[in-house]
């Protein structure tokens, strides 16, 4: 039984099983009104992988993504009494996860600033800190090619607001209208952020993709200005 066959069959059965199972919104309402623990566990099983993927893409850290995923579901459970069935459950869940990712990114930024303050002598070599931060995580090394690492770095050159729309559309497959719901912004804003994200990403990737793999060890010469959100 190959992994691909397993994946395909799981997809088919997931789709068919939805004919007989309650929707996420119905299950969440049962969790809210009756503390339906089995229902909550079902929601966790259904959504833990997509949420983990989102957190891994947004933070670039698979281990931290595991913590953030757990935190997402803890928060969902804690706030169950205030759940309003006014939109899709998935939109509500994506929003919780994204906010946690943003908090994590701010913590990482604060740690970087602290690092700079504690080691002012390294200001002479600003690339040292950048290289340490840009160094791939151990699972990044194991899991991906050199091209994958270049793409990861390029994505993390983008400000959060642009990276978010790219991750939600390309990796998580949300439609543009759904992204607008999750981020609570107009669809036009999603489109303009996406256009800017793709333009910046192309500007970063086009030159470096044609270089050799040895460029990975050097500081990134194509770092654009950082937007502070």
């Amino acid at each position: 039984m190959t992994a691909k066959w397993n994946e395909r069959m799981t997809g088919i059965f997931t789709g068919l099983s939805k004919l007989w199972s309650a929707t996420d919104e119905e299950v969440m309402l049962r969790v809210k009104e009756r503390d339906d623990h089995q229902g909550f566990a079902r929601l966790v099983r259904r959504w833990e992988r997509p949420i983990w993927r989102l957190c891994a893409r947004m933070t670039g850290d698979a281990h931290r993504a595991e913590d953030l995923k757990q935190e997402t579901f803890v928060r969902l459970f804690e706030k169950r009494k205030s759940y309003q069935n006014t939109g899709r459950f998935s939109t509500y869940l994506w929003r919780i996860a994204l906010n946690l990712c943003y908090d994590e990114l701010r913590r990482q930024e604060r740690r970087r600033r602290l690092f700079r303050e504690e080691r002012p002598q390294d200001e002479e070599d600003p690339h040292m800190e950048q290289a340490a931060i840009d160094a791939p995580t151990p699972d990044a090394c194991a899991a991906q090619s050199e091209e994958g690492e270049l793409v990861r770095r390029a994505l993390f050159e983008l400000p959060e607001i642009y990276r978010t729309v790219l991750v939600l559309r390309h990796y998580e497959g949300l439609k543009l209208a759904q992204i607008a719901e999750v981020l609570e912004i107009p669809e036009g804003t999603v489109n303009s952020r996406m256009a800017e994200a793709l333009t910046r990403l192309s500007r970063i990737l086009e030159p470096i993709m044609s270089k050799s793999a040895s460029k990975l060890a050097q500081p990134n010469r194509f770092i654009q200005e950082r937007s502070v959100l």
Binding site: N6, T10, S17, Q38, A56, Q144, L150, L176, N191
Partner: protein
Amino acid sequence: MNHPDREEFVPYLFGEDTPETRRRLHEHLGACPQCQAEVESWRRSLRRLDAWRTPTVPRPSFVARPGLSWAFALLTVVGLAAFLLGRFTSRAEAEAKLQEQIAARLKPELTAELRQVVREEVAKAADGMLATSREESGRVLAAYERVVNARLEAERMQRISDCLALKKDVDTIAVNADAGLRDTEQRLAQMVVYRRSPALANPLIDNPTHH
């Protein structure tokens, strides 16, 4: 040449635009190398995004999935496959007649037996899946319960600590107030003694009728 806003190409790129908009933008791209180049560079960047793969987490095999709904899903697929097979298989007319006769004779017995078998199999599968589901649910909930309880405990300890600090502050204020009051008392007593001293008696004040 009038170029569309670049944001308009985003739904076009992802196939989420209307047919009319798609036609208009497609025509423009055919005539505008600049816009065509930009959209192509976006497409290349999107393809390159697939190079970044996250570590894979093994998913449970579909046969281990809990839930009665999976049993029904399995039945649906089996039923659909049997229907399609029966529907499109071609056979000679004589064979069809013969099979009809056999089916008519055996159908009542087979139907009852098949029903019983299906009932038993579904019940067995459902029991097994529900047991697995309950166990898994229990594990997941226990984990979350531990996290939530730890949080509540931490909050409780924080509240106790805050109350103790407040009590300490109140005690300090009480002690200081007490000291202040004693001090004031002493000064008042001293003033009374001072006022009563004969050396300091002022006939004008102490005995106004004297003069």
